[in-house]
Symmetry: C2
């Protein structure tokens, strides 16, 4: 399903084929936690800003409105109106970051819902069933997200359990896909590499799960507080153990600079809440660095947020207007800032692909890796 088109060092230009359409990689997935992009963007807005894959959260959809209900309505594609590929996470990350009173056992995790406190159990089979009900294009395996830092012994044991969970995920996933009334019988399954910041654990785990011949492989459990350099080191360490003919996904990363570094180390897929979270604070990504709309100098600045950007926001609105909306706490500020930031990310990936195609990725990387994460001087 993944086709490597061209390589520049470790950076890969590729194409990923799914039943819901093809994806050009490297690609940034746009996060729609509860089947909606934060800031009031719907599926039709996403089409207009270059989104290729929408990412929805299994845990959130399970606890609110419910995957059974969404299944009865025809799955996430019919529910949201988004026709392209949808990736659902496994629920693991939210279980470990949001839920309360967790109890991890071999069979799975008992926890309290962050919404109403009711006791929920989720294990590999449950995660697969929920994702099958949602009918996503890509399901993620259920794993344990270990906190950073973690003692080696715990990390090792957790890793081994995550491998055993992955085997159960695969078995259940195969069973569900084979049922006659499955929403998406072509659902893909990605495995997740864990091992905290221990290179040897990471590599060993990756080699182990690579044997399962899954549809893709993710690096999980990074960008959870460790220094950026450690994250880069882990990616570089584990990359050689990742199958070359499978798509690779670095979960929850990151800034534009992080993404450039990830691509350079051989990553194909990214996702992050940063475009939306920064938008909430009036921080806009631009080709010259980050603009903070709170800055008084933008009050009378009638230039587009990014003069080099042709997104619907930059074509139509000024920094002054966005700042005014933000100060007035208008929902429109959030929508326009999220729209611009997501477009920025999607178009950054398009530029990366263009430069990979045209053998100029290295110079593009050099010119942008520092600039894009810094404050815009303009």
């Amino acid at each position: 399903m993944y086709r490597l088109i061209k390589q520049s060092g470790n950076a890969r230009l590729g194409e990923f084929t799914t039943v819901h359409g093809n994806v050009k990689t490297p690609c940034f997935m746009n996060v729609a936690t509860v089947a909606a992009i934060k800031g009031g963007l719907d599926a039709y807005d996403l089409s207009g800003i270059g989104c290729q894959i929408m990412l929805c959260n299994t845990y959130h959809l399970h606890v609110r409105t419910g995957d059974e209900t969404i299944r009865s309505l025809g799955g996430l594609h019919r529910f949201t109106g988004w026709q392209g590929p949808i990736l659902t996470d496994s629920g693991g990350f939210q279980v470990f970051s949001l839920a309360k009173l967790r109890q991890i056992k071999e069979e799975g995790v008992h926890f309290n819902s962050h919404i109403d406190g009711r006791r929920i159990f989720m294990g590999p089979e449950e995660s697969m069933r929920i994702q099958s009900n949602l009918g996503s294009t890509i399901a993620m395996a259920f794993d344990e997200c270990v906190e950073n830092p973690a003692p080696f012994d715990y990390a090792k044991k957790s890793c081994e359990r995550t491998t055993r969970w992955l085997l159960r995920c695969k078995e259940e996933h195969d069973r569900l896909n084979a049922l006659c009334d499955t929403v998406n019988p072509h659902q893909l399954l990605f495995g997740i590499n864990q091992g905290c910041t221990y290179d040897d654990l990471r590599i060993q785990h990756m080699e182990e799960i690579a044997k399962l011949n899954l549809d893709g492989y993710a690096i999980g459990g990074l960008a959870v507080g460790e220094p950026t350099e450690v994250m880069y080191r882990v990616i570089s360490a584990v990359e050689p153990a990742m199958p070359r003919d499978k798509i690779r996904y670095l979960m929850g990363v990151g800034t534009p600079g992080n993404i450039l570094e990830g691509v350079r180390r051989g990553v194909d897929l990214f996702d992050c809440v940063m475009p939306a979270r920064n938008a909430r604070h009036g921080h806009l990504f631009t080709s010259k660095g980050i603009i903070n709309l709170s800055n008084a100098k933008y009050e009378t600045d009638m230039r587009a947020p990014d003069e080099n950007c042709d997104c619907p926001v930059c074509r139509r609105h000024s920094r002054a207007y966005l700042r005014h909306l933000m100060k007035a706490k208008e929902v429109l500020a959030l929508r326009l800032c999220v729209m611009h930031n997501l477009y920025f990310y999607n178009s950054l990936m398009e530029k990366i692909r263009y430069h990979l195609e045209n053998d100029s990725f290295d110079s593009f990387y050099e010119e942008n890796v520092t600039v894009l994460d810094k404050r815009c001087a303009d």
Copy 2:
């Protein structure tokens, strides 16, 4: 500037010409309080849902970001990107409903800003200057909005002062329009009829201000708590005193039923926050009455909010999805509900015009005046 095309009883089909384009009447103005529609709609969204006039609030824009700043940026049209007519209210209503520690004097009103408490003065001249700075298409005269109920004596005195204020408004408005650097030198001025619920005061005041040959006349100070029947009675009483060749605006009204009643009594223009406010509570106007998305029966209802509506929301999304978004407190719920409700209002006006044109207004009125304000049984 107002051309009466056709009349059906007191109901009027007309056209209103402005420097920012022509308006077909009867017309509902879409409220963009601080130069943004609540719920994250921008000027370009408004174009897509049949909006003819955008209404902005003078008081809000004066206290936040400031009319001087907006003037320096080229006025509201350049600021928001909306190219059609903009009406600005006088600030009077907000001064009397939002501001604290009011002191009303002959020269104007001293009050404390509802945002930072700072002492502000606004009188007829100030209101005109602010609206001139904003560069709106239509400025509203500065008046006193008297609370309901009000003693006759107070109502009478207030009415007389509002007349004196109107004269000062006109003089200042003429002066501002004549300046060489005015944002919109073609700005129109509407007078506002007051007199609480006293028919004789209303008529007397209307006759008084009609003499000034203003660009339009509004009925203010209604829909402030009096029974609906009283409001209708006042409109019917004052209407014969309103110039036939001038556009007529009923301020802050109302439900679809109220609007039908207003049109039947000879009103041309309406505005109300109801489409947005109801949207916030998940109440959707439909051709069969009001839908409350909180109702559990909509959880699995994949029908469009209004099956007879071709707005962007009804063409794309289901009741089930909107309900899910509302329950999850997603901003997208608000945006989609506001978009649908505003479209509903704009298209209701279009239908009214169609039926006035085709001599079927009476039957359209009969079929809809009760249904539209009631809960949808469907």
